[in-house]
Symmetry: D2
Subunit: 294 residues, 4 copies
């Protein structure tokens, strides 16, 4: 999606504004319509606050409609191709379109039970969760009292909308929706940044592991861009895998055969999707250390 | 096997000596017979040196017989139950009795090709190798010239015999056949040895992973006995897995949810089966370091 | 002092027993005399408990005499040579015989004020304190109420006696009076223990620094004996100094000129004189880590 | 000195150009005069290259005059106040105006011997050296053959000029004359950047220690500006001192009394004045690690 400029949106005819932002809240263009008249907005945060307030000020029926408008997780809409483009992208980001069939069955069962209990589908900002975390949230929330769960669901609707708005509109500010995951490799045998180290990030879940991103360190020992940036870091367990043996072999640093350290895994959990996680590796062929930086 | 005392062997009738040590060299009691008359031996090392010399002094036919007397790796003898107890234990130690069928087929093909090329079965001291290392040695040695490979095979016969003699006979000394793998967990958040940390050692191979041993750290942050001791550390890639999250949770040290560090894997390779590998973990809930100690 | 055997003391004539142990409590052979009749003692701990009880059971006058019998810290008795051999050794161990004159003057002033306030000299088990810690204890205790300070002083008398008894008598057990300070140097550039590293331990105080011990690491990267062992580790700030640059230069590991790491100082405080402090250094020419081990 | 703009210099009358850059080479405005006619220069590097070439193209007499125009190190000119402002600032930066008298005497003796041997004063780019390094260079170069030393001296003249030009003129580029020294403190007990840690950098030399800079870490665990930046990092031994105990005490993290780690010193050497030295500290109350980053 090309980003729209806040200035342009402020000056656009109302119908254009609504058409541009009608999808921020799923199947609920009325939210955009409700705030079009209060333009101009000085910041994306102001615009988001107005949309959020419009939802909170709406009547129960509208709010419930908002909840009902969302597709199920890995559900029938996904399989039949009847989801909005935004929902397709969101569910795909969490790998929900590539789940093992055992887990799909589990989600289906939960979807059914949840809808029966609460009268609307389970809504969660999937970009903030890994596969295990989604499941645990599902299992936790299905036990909540209806009123509590309704406000939890609404909070998730706002998180989804904030991410969509952040992606759609460019203004003088940014909504605080992005986290960051980065790394840095130091060669402590030679006292230099380690250049050319292959790094792979995988998400670990009970359903197996899922590659997230691969990169190679540059002359500063960093990857050219953060491993995760400009978006939440999904709540999950990860493993960073550094091809350290190859690096030292290529550099001519003497190592054992097989090397004492070859592929170095660092396994860590992300609890705060909007947090900054810097996970450096300082390594020689015979030792390494890591820590959570920021 | 109960250990025999070197003193007792020195004083025993010749026939008893030969019967006790007839299996040190596979299907070749003549080696023990050849050295019985030179007793007494002051050390296990002297006894081993004499047996080794007896083999080197024997004629080509005897030496070839020695090579031919060994069973194949994961071969027909193993499957039909026609192996000596020593060979059964040795091949079992390397997991050769639990290989995936694809790898069994590969070994069978190599066994056939090797025997065709050299006229005797592939012999290797399996207690010194993990599954991948065995395969690589097989693939490397099958390319050697017959003369070079014959002396390589004989060197392996001596390694096997040394390990058997070390296990069978107790004397004032020990043959240098054992390596060691140990660990130590330090809690750097609290400045104390980490007691009660579950540690698992697994061997990693292309055919999958194989549990080696599990233990829990004691009040000194160490395991009560080395993870591997009193025997070679097979040449292989390993992963040590420390249940660090559980430890800090049990101790009441504040951690994130999910914890930043939960199960901590340290992956390393062993190149020298007779070496001492000390792989400590010094960790807080947010950082750790490790190195090869000794 | 040659150590006496507990067995021999148990069987010795009473007069010999008293003469041997008359100095355990300063100028108070009556304590030994009081417990001679209850022999035999099964352990040094039993013997010590009996002596301690004899003091607690004695009348006020005896207990006060015990306090009055001790020499002042860095005081007149020390300067005139009128101290027992035990007190000379103890005060010397803390460097009290080599204090800068400014600090001597401070101790003299405190001694005078303390004696005036409490009617007996300031008593402290000097082997458990560095120079700064002694001073802080002095300044803290001089503010206590007389009753509280009298029992603090008596507790110190017992600590002094326990150390003397531990040094004097060998039995089946040892009193828990010793701490330990040790180190270990790992070469993480080469994956081996660092052999031949010169290590110096100095005590840091406001009055300057005082060398405690120097050593060179052996093939295991350790010193042949602990830096401090068989005695308390005085409560103080220390610096361990490792000649790392020299080590790598001698080993031929490439380093910068001047080296990035040359003399590596690790500064740490000891709070528990009977504790075990293991302070290892894991280092390459460009990195190092340390932690409190045990 | 206010920085001049390269554009403005390119357009200025020749006399103004010479007057502005006449001091880049000490007492040698003829260098600036020689290159004024070749303006405009597209970059500071081009301008410097032209000035350097003008010196190399000049006759022996001019070049020797250039060498003779420099003041001695810590010499008579310094004491009598007869140095250019640039030289005063340079010699002051290395602490040459605050040397202990023993070392001043040593420099005087070397100055005399050097001038006698070579016929011009000892010239060195003092901003690139600590006090010990200056002395070692002096002692090394005084042994060189006259021809070799003359070109060494000229190379130093160019280094001095490059630093002066970099400071004086602002253009689209910068001469590669600056190094950098920075730090970063991570709190590995709490998994956050350590904010509010006092850090002091001192230069260590045989003549004693000299404070370089002090700072306090910000919310990112870094200092607001590099400890050394925008200039060479003098070749010397340094100690970075981190007030770690105070930090943990203020934060409420439990520590021992006295703390195991209080003031943490990291001692390191700088070999490459134009290099980037990042010296981070990752620490808990009981452990720390550091390495050379960049």
């Amino acid at each position: 999606m090309t980003q729209l400029d806040l200035d342009a949106l402020n000056r656009a005819p109302s119908s254009e504004f609504v058409s541009a932002l009608g999808g921020i809240f799923e199947h609920a263009p009325w939210v955009a319509a409700a705030v079009a008249g209060r333009r101009p907005y000085g910041s994306v945060a102001d615009l988001f606050a107005a949309m959020r307030q419009a939802v909170l000020d709406s009547d129960e029926e509208h709010r419930l409609g908002l909840l009902r408008g969302h597709p199920e997780l890995a559900g029938a809409a996904a399989k039949s191709g009847n989801m909005t483009a935004e929902s397709v992208a969101e569910q795909g980001s969490a790998g929900l379109d590539r789940l093992p069939s055992r887990r799909v069955a589990l989600f289906e069962e939960l979807n059914r039970a949840y809808r029966e209990r609460f009268g609307f589908p389970f809504i969660i900002c999937v970009r903030r969760h890994g596969s295990d975390s989604l499941l645990r949230e599902f299992q936790r929330r299905i036990e909540l009292k209806p009123e509590a769960e309704r406000s939890t669901a609404l909070a998730e609707v706002f998180r989804i909308a904030a991410l969509r708005l952040d992606a759609a509109v460019q203004g003088p500010d940014r909504l605080p929706v992005a986290g960051r995951l980065s790394t840095h490799v130091l060669d402590t045998a030679n006292g230099v940044p380690a250049e050319g180290v292959a790094v792979a990030l995988v998400e670990l879940s009970e359903a197996g592991e899922r590659p997230v991103v691969s990169a190679v360190t540059n002359a500063n020992g960093r990857t050219d861009s953060p491993l995760v940036g400009d978006r939440p870091v999904p709540r999950a367990a990860y493993e960073l895998r550094f091809s350290l043996g190859e690096y030292f072999r290529a550099r001519g640093t003497p190592i054992a055969d097989p090397p004492f350290l070859d592929l170095v895994p660092i396994r860590f959990g992300v609890a705060d999707p909007e947090g900054h996680y810097h996970v450096p590796l300082a390594a020689s062929p015979w030792s390494y250390s890591t820590y959570r930086g920021s």
